[in-house]
């Protein structure tokens, strides 16, 4: 589009990612964790700081920054310090491939979805590091649970996207958006999202993402009432804030990936995806879809109890994976037949 030198472009992209992550996690925390949860529980949530408590988050962030940075005596100092950064890094890397308009993407990789799922599982490493380095038994249990859970749910997550990839014939996220912008079903012309054909894949993806994000009913790694916070039990202040931001930033990123894969991303039905004005409308469309999906994620989180670790594994291996394999087979057959 505009002629920029390589370093200028890189600097802008970096600034966008660095700016977007805190903003998105702030939006999610305020909208869902503070307000939606409070209204569901017949409370008001924060009301004092700013209109309807909108500035509460800034206050919370300042509170976290002021806190003392404590690390346990027996902790493995370097690993302990590195863990939250590793977790947040995986979130940062996810944002690289999220498209927000025809030209609005940091890097349109050919293997976009493959890359996204690969870097998202990096967070398991960070969580395991945190759990191990904290020198705390609860943290250790939490870290191991997280590792087991993330491995179990990575598979259905990958398999659920396969249906979409088969249908779109590409792994690039922009390519998938374009495929949906040109996709017609029920005699409707174009711009139909894949959710109409991939509803099973969508359900599996959302369930697996719920587990990947360690939200209830799959929040055993954190499990406040059992493990008292699990892997981040020993973290305070800024380091805890990093974990917190990563959690919500990743939730946002997963909602974004789901909206790209199944809801058509930034594209609109009956609109040519190459229109230039979509660069301005696209981010809004995308945000709308993301917020709907994030609302589902958090709605489930606030409503249901938590499963047990063995029940969770059973659910992944005995239900989700077979169903997603069947889904792939059926999609493939239809693709070949049509």
């Amino acid at each position: 589009m505009i002629g920029l030198v390589y370093w200028q472009e890189t600097a802008i992209k970096l600034a966008v990612i660095l700016g977007v992550i805190p903003v998105t996690s702030l939006i999610l925390v305020y909208l869902f964790l503070f307000k939606m949860m409070a209204f569901m529980q017949s409370r008001l949530g924060p009301m004092i700081t700013g209109p309807h408590g909108t500035l509460q988050l800034i206050a919370e962030a300042i509170k976290f920054l002021q806190k003392e940075d404590i690390h346990p005596d027996n902790a493995d100092k370097h690993v302990f310090a590195l863990a939250p950064i590793v977790v947040l890094m995986s979130t940062f890397l996810l944002y690289v491939i999220l498209p927000a308009g025809p030209d609005l993407i940091v890097e349109d990789l050919d293997v976009g979805i493959f890359y996204a799922l690969a870097v998202s599982s990096l967070s398991a490493l960070g969580v395991l590091m945190a759990g191990w380095a904290s020198a705390n038994k609860y943290a250790l249990l939490g870290g191991l649970r997280a590792a087991g859970q993330l491995i179990a749910y990575e598979l259905p997550l990958v398999l659920a996207t396969m249906g979409v990839i088969i249908q779109a014939e590409t792994m690039s996220l922009q390519g998938i958006v374009h495929a949906q912008a040109n996709f017609s079903i029920f005699g409707l012309d174009s711009g139909m999202p894949f959710i109409f054909t991939q509803i099973v894949g969508f359900a599996i993806f959302m369930i697996a993402a719920q587990a990947e994000l360690t939200q209830t009913p799959f929040d055993m790694p954190v499990a406040e009432t059992e493990l008292v916070g699990g892997f981040h039990i020993e973290y305070t202040g800024f380091r805890f804030l990093l974990f917190f931001m990563a959690e919500f930033g990743t939730a946002f990123a997963f909602a974004a990936i789901a909206s790209v894969l199944f809801l058509g991303g930034w594209s609109l039905p009956f609109v040519d995806p190459n229109e230039n004005w979509l660069n301005f409308v696209g981010p809004g469309v995308m945000l709308f879809k993301i917020l709907i999906l994030a609302a589902i994620i958090f709605w489930v989180r606030f409503t249901v109890p938590r499963l047990r670790e063995d029940q969770l594994q059973k659910f992944a291996w005995k239900v989700l994976i077979p169903v997603s394999l069947v889904n792939i087979a059926v999609t493939g057959l239809i693709k070949v037949a049509v």
Binding site: K137, E226, P305
Partner: protein
């Protein structure tokens, strides 16, 4: 034995030996996990020393006494009317119910009897404190299992009951309303209708909990078959209250050993469940809360008129003797054994609290379960720390 079976036997022995070798090689040390004294699942300062093999609990031992306040000893240096302020704080969620057995025991020694109206109001307050107490459990069980919302509903609706208790007694949490020979005051104007409205609300709350938790599949998966306590074991450990009834024992002191309150004058049902697991304990408590709201309504219907205080001397001296009175408190059987030497205060008081016995079953029931199940079991046994350690 034929040759083929010998062969298969040899193969079996060989695989067993191989398994044993692998087990020895892979054997790792057990881990001791201290659940508590500061842990959200122990809602207070109970400590569970658990021996873990991975996530499997090999042994769990409750260690009590972190909140011992010496009420039995303190009661010895107080006069009878002063003791009720203390014992209010044993089971702090159902405070009024703590006062009743003590007052009844003192009344038995003094051979006074409260007038009928006082007995009925006592029963109403007793059931109200049961509702206030158990409704919190109904929500708290959800939060222990990871569902955040029920506990907020519980706090919201329990507040209505506490308001009723407050408007009658003046104390929201610690009424200190029961007196030897009757009650401090009569009920205020409009209280009866308000209480009826609150009871309707509490039934709605029970329905809500039924929708949110009892009908929830995950809740069922976490609770059904977890922490099964058979009838004989429950009786052997001296459990009482809803925990015992959930094991299929039809035993309720309100019906079986009514010490003079109005329970025998109304119609009501004792709920039991044959399963004895965590789900049964939750279900029984849910039904009991619902039943208690009906009981309060029936008690309000039949409330007799008359004074609320019998003739008792201004300075209370209890004649020499011993008495034990126990009632079916929200948590189970609570009893006071009072020894009097004819003084202003008791010579010795032994307090039998239900949670102490209910929690002593933990080593038996938390064997070979997973760590999350320990939380389920602790939550479903429903203890209150003040009631364990007094």
């Amino acid at each position: 034995m034929t040759a083929t079976s010998e062969h298969s036997q040899a193969a079996y022995v060989a695989t067993q030996a191989a398994d044993a070798r692998i087990n020895v090689e892979l054997q790792t040390g057990d881990m001791t996990l201290n659940i508590g004294p500061q842990h959200p699942a122990t809602h207070g300062t109970l400590r569970i020393a658990a021996q873990l093999d991975g996530e499997l609990v090999i042994r769990a031992e409750p260690i009590m006494g972190y909140m011992h306040r010496g009420y039995e000893k303190l009661a010895e240096v107080r006069t009878y009317p002063q003791v009720t302020t203390l014992i209010n704080r044993i089971d702090w969620l159902g405070s009024f119910a703590n006062e009743v057995p003590f007052i009844l025991a003192a009344e038995r020694l003094m051979e006074v009897e409260a007038p009928p109206r006082a007995q009925w109001i006592r029963t109403i307050l007793f059931e109200l404190s049961r509702i206030a107490n158990v409704s919190l459990f109904l929500g708290d069980m959800g939060v222990q299992l990871g569902a955040l919302t029920p506990v907020f509903f519980a706090f919201r609706d329990r507040e209505r009951v506490l308001n009723q208790i407050e408007s009658l007694t003046g104390g929201r949490f610690h009424p200190n309303f029961d007196r030897i020979g009757g009650l401090k005051d009569d009920i205020p104007r409009g209280w009866i209708q308000e209480t009826r409205d609150v009871m309707v609300k509490m039934r709605e709350f029970c329905d809500e909990m039924e929708d949110l938790l009892v009908g929830n599949q995950i809740f069922g998966a976490r609770c059904r078959g977890v922490g099964v306590i058979p009838r004989e074991v429950a009786l052997g450990y001296g459990m009482s209250g809803a925990n015992l009834r959930a094991s299929g024992v039809d035993w309720d002191l309100r019906r079986d050993a009514n010490p003079g309150l109005a329970w025998d004058q109304i119609d009501w049902k004792v709920w039991t469940h044959p399963d004895g697991d965590s789900f049964a304990r939750y279900w029984v408590r849910l039904q009991e809360t619902r039943e208690a709201t009906h009981m309060v309504e029936k008690l309000l219907d039949g409330l007799p008129s008359g004074p609320v205080m019998a003739k008792v001397p201004r300075i209370i001296k209890v004649p020499e003797g011993e008495a034990y009175v126990s009632t079916e408190n929200p948590l189970g059987e609570m009893g006071y054994y009072i020894v009097s030497k004819g003084d202003l205060g008791p010579f010795r008081v032994k307090i039998r609290t239900p949670s102490f016995n209910n929690i002593s079953i933990v080593p038996w029931v938390c064997k070979g379960v997973y760590v999350p199940d320990v939380i389920t079991i602790l939550a479903s046994l429903y203890f209150i720390l003040g009631d364990i350690d007094r």
